[in-house]
Symmetry: C2
Subunit: 229 residues, 2 copies
DNA sequence: TGCTGCAAGATTGTGGAACAATCAATTGGA
DNA sequence: TCCAATTGATTGTTCCACAATCTTGCAGCA
């Protein structure tokens, strides 16, 4: 062991990443990931002991993660009932989108006005490439990851820490998981392209408008009839 | 016990309230209350065992409450460190206010356009009375409660459940606790009055503007020099 | 004096046992 | 067929144990 350790020192950049992430974090991220990749669906019940074994942690960690997820609007907690992944009826879906519109407008206005070509150009371009790449391949969750990256980069450019904290708390995760984002990718890509272009020009009003237009497109893609798309 | 029970049946409306609120809820609300009433201050360290004895619960409940409070932006969690009540430097305070402005604008637009005199008039009037009452007496926390009630009523009129969920997650609690809302009550009351008037008229644009003006007033009251007001 | 480093104490991280309280499903009876 | 009681599953809560980590204070040394 000594020798092996000397021969190939452990990759601390990875080790720290893994060891620093506590058990609560593991459950928290695991559930978000499982939701994003379709292994869990809105409405699904989550049994504490199942999750404990699934993520190889104690029941404690599961309960703490549930509180965190509940505060983030990912699960619903009801006393003496198994937590359930949040489910949105059509009305509440539209309410979520109204909030998303306002927050996105602020985020994009902020990003456009603080955009600095020197500093941000590369990141934005990379983001568009990831979206195109994710669109080409058809792996489940790849597009979700690219989209998440897209918003993260824009929020970072905008620099508003409170917005960075709150934006992911909007119930968009649930919408994405509940209404399968089928065949609309073409439209979406054009939206994202328009947003990136406006931000790249430092055009705050244009970026805000592009964001609102995008949310409108998502709104229009919510079916009128079926409870779940 | 049988006879006593028959003679005076227990007040279930109170009992349910008490028994339904679990231990996590007790800690969660307790800390928000203590923060609101000045018994805790931003930056303060919270030791698990102290909180456990303070609220007469187990360490588990405290930890679950911490996760919830962290997701709500009330405390900061760092690994192997005692949780601390969130502290805002001046820059982040202004960022919080930018988010608050956008969300308040949406909330008031929504409330004004959905306002129904028959249904909402009494609640709005009561709200203003509470604000005036809280302004007159000088009990610590009374004004905070009245303000909280004010926003709750407006959010209910607006009817957007996602906004009702997210609005209290904005870091205004911290701002109120950190920058003592001294001697500005006169101005604040006029602001609230203007908001209520606009909403009562169903004037969405006016209500939104009144909200933005109010946030501007709060912004202007943040001192430039001292880290803590 | 002032600094370094170590040792002791305090605090968090985590799992697990135990038991009450409550819910859900099934079964038995009217 | 429908109601009700039992039973099994699940959550709510506390307490304990122990490792990991941080903090503090003290002692020794330059």
């Amino acid at each position: 062991m000594e020798l092996a350790s000397v021969a190939r020192p452990p990759d601390t950049s990875e080790m720290i990443e893994v060891s620093q992430a506590g058990t609560v974090e593991r459950v928290y991220r695991g559930i978000l990931r499982d939701l994003e990749e379709g292994r869990m669906v809105p409405g699904q019940r989550l049994v504490e002991t199942d999750l404990a074994t699934r993520y190889a942690v104690g029941r404690n960690a599961v309960r703490e993660a549930m509180q965190r997820l509940a505060a983030r609007g990912v699960v619903d907690l009801a006393r003496n009932r198994s937590p359930a992944i949040r489910w949105l009826d059509r009305a509440e879906t539209l309410e979520v989108l109204d909030v998303a519109e306002a927050m996105t407008a602020l985020a994009l206005r902020s990003a456009a006005s603080r955009y600095d070509r020197e500093r941000d150009s590369a990141a934005l371009q990379k983001t568009m490439e990831l979206l195109l790449e994710a669109d080409r391949i058809d792996e489940i969750g790849a597009f979700s990851r690219a989209r998440r990256h897209f918003y993260r980069v824009l929020l970072e450019i905008g620099g508003n820490r409170e917005l960075q904290r709150l934006y992911p708390a909007i119930g968009m995760h649930i919408i994405y998981a509940q209404y399968q984002t089928r065949r609309l990718r073409g439209i979406r890509l054009a939206d994202y392209r328009a947003i990136i272009d406006a931000v790249s020009l430092g055009d705050a009003a244009g970026a805000e408008q592009a964001g609102r237009t995008h949310v409108d497109h998502v709104r229009a893609s919510i079916p009128h009839d079926a409870p779940a798309g």
